[in-house]
């Protein structure tokens, strides 16, 4: 059993609907990029609800950050994004999951593909790469509705700055509204974009795709069609339309 109690030490607004909770978790053993925690909320009458949230931060002592997207009519996410206060204790279990993880020792190229808040565990991978100075070449393709809904926008631009030739390359598919100057018209990730923005299959990258179920399945199919070995594609779906139960 690895149940712990963390305390909220800060809340950051990432977008209109997403908040990052910074937790201090005494006894935290460190984590791998891509792992998650289960947060359990218990009401005064004893009713409890548990949800899994990806860790957004690189391993750093007892500090753990999770980014929570508010789901309309959700049971847990409205509380975590709108009501939670600094100093609130949170019951959690983790770090969890040893499959959708990236280790800085992995030498091969890495292709990240994230839809909406599926970017969260991929951000942990980007942050871990930067923090550890890992040499693995990264590319990130992410999908966002419009410029206001892209998580971590400023930090992503910093981490993928073209000044550094070895920096990860960022491509965003804007599905509803693209920013000024964007050449590609708004639209979902498709075969042409996969071909233009992701590592060629013959470099044998490990691919990590995370997002709503439909997004992940489309992306996995596009990657396989582009020649990637299904065994090198790791997927994490978080529900029908952005985590309906959250």
């Amino acid at each position: 059993m690895n149940r712990r109690v963390g305390t909220v030490t800060a809340v950051r607004a990432e977008t209109r609907t997403a908040r990052t909770l910074v937790l201090d978790v005494p006894g935290w053993p460190g984590h791998l990029a891509g792992q998650h925690v289960d947060l359990r909320l218990t009401a005064e009458d004893g009713y409890s609800a548990t949800r899994s949230y990806s860790i957004a931060s690189a391993s750093d002592g007892t500090r753990v950050e999770v980014t929570v997207e508010r789901v309309p009519d959700g049971e847990v996410s409205p509380y975590l994004t709108e009501q939670i206060q600094i100093g609130t204790p949170l019951e959690l279990r983790g770090p969890l999951g040893g499959w959708f993880v990236w280790r800085p020792e992995q030498p091969e190229p890495v292709q990240l593909v994230g839809g909406g808040s599926g970017l969260v565990p991929l951000m942990a991978m980007l942050r871990t790469r930067a923090r550890r100075g890992a040499p693995a070449p990264f590319r990130l393709l992410c999908s966002a509705r419009d410029p206001g809904s892209l998580l971590y926008a400023d930090e992503l631009r910093r981490l993928t700055s073209t000044v550094d030739g070895a920096a990860p390359r960022l491509t965003v598919a804007w599905t509803r509204t693209a920013p000024d100057g964007e050449q590609r018209p708004p639209g979902r990730v498709d075969a042409a974009l996969v071909s233009a923005a992701t590592w060629p299959a013959d470099l044998e990258p490990t691919c990590y795709a995370c997002g709503p179920t439909g997004f992940v399945e489309t992306v996995a199919d596009l990657l396989v069609a582009a020649g990637h070995d299904p065994a090198r594609i790791r997927t994490e779906r978080f529900g029908p339309t952005g985590g309906a139960r959250r």
Binding site: M1, N2, H36, V37, D38, T50, S52, R93, G94, L96, G97, G98, W99, F100, T213, T235, E236, R237, F238, G239, P240, R245
Partner: protein
């Protein structure tokens, strides 16, 4: 399978927390072979259903039930009969 199986809630990956209450190692990274159709894959990649009284993991090949785990305050029931073989990585020794 002839019965209709609805789409899953999540990936098996999200079962890691509940399974960690039973197993000392992370079971979602273990490779399971389906006793029904023989398909092999990490339990993290199977289909997770949370709307049952417990959690249910189904094979993505044949929809067969691989794992059922039901938890009560004082005990748990684990049904693994849908898994023919579990392959777990051993951590490198010292």
């Amino acid at each position: 399978m002839s019965t209709h199986v609805p789409p899953p809630d999540l990936d098996g990956n999200a079962a890691a927390g509940e399974l960690s209450a039973v197993f000392a190692v992370d079971l979602t990274a273990a490779v399971a072979q389906c006793a029904g159709c023989g398909r092999r894959g990490a339990l993290a990649t199977t289909a997770l259903y949370l709307s049952a009284p417990g959690l249910v993991l189904r094979c993505r090949g044949c929809d067969g039930v691989l794992v059922r785990l039901v938890s009560a305050p004082d005990r748990q029931w684990l049904d693994l009969r849908g898994v023919a073989v579990l392959q777990l990585a051993r951590p490198a020794e010292g």
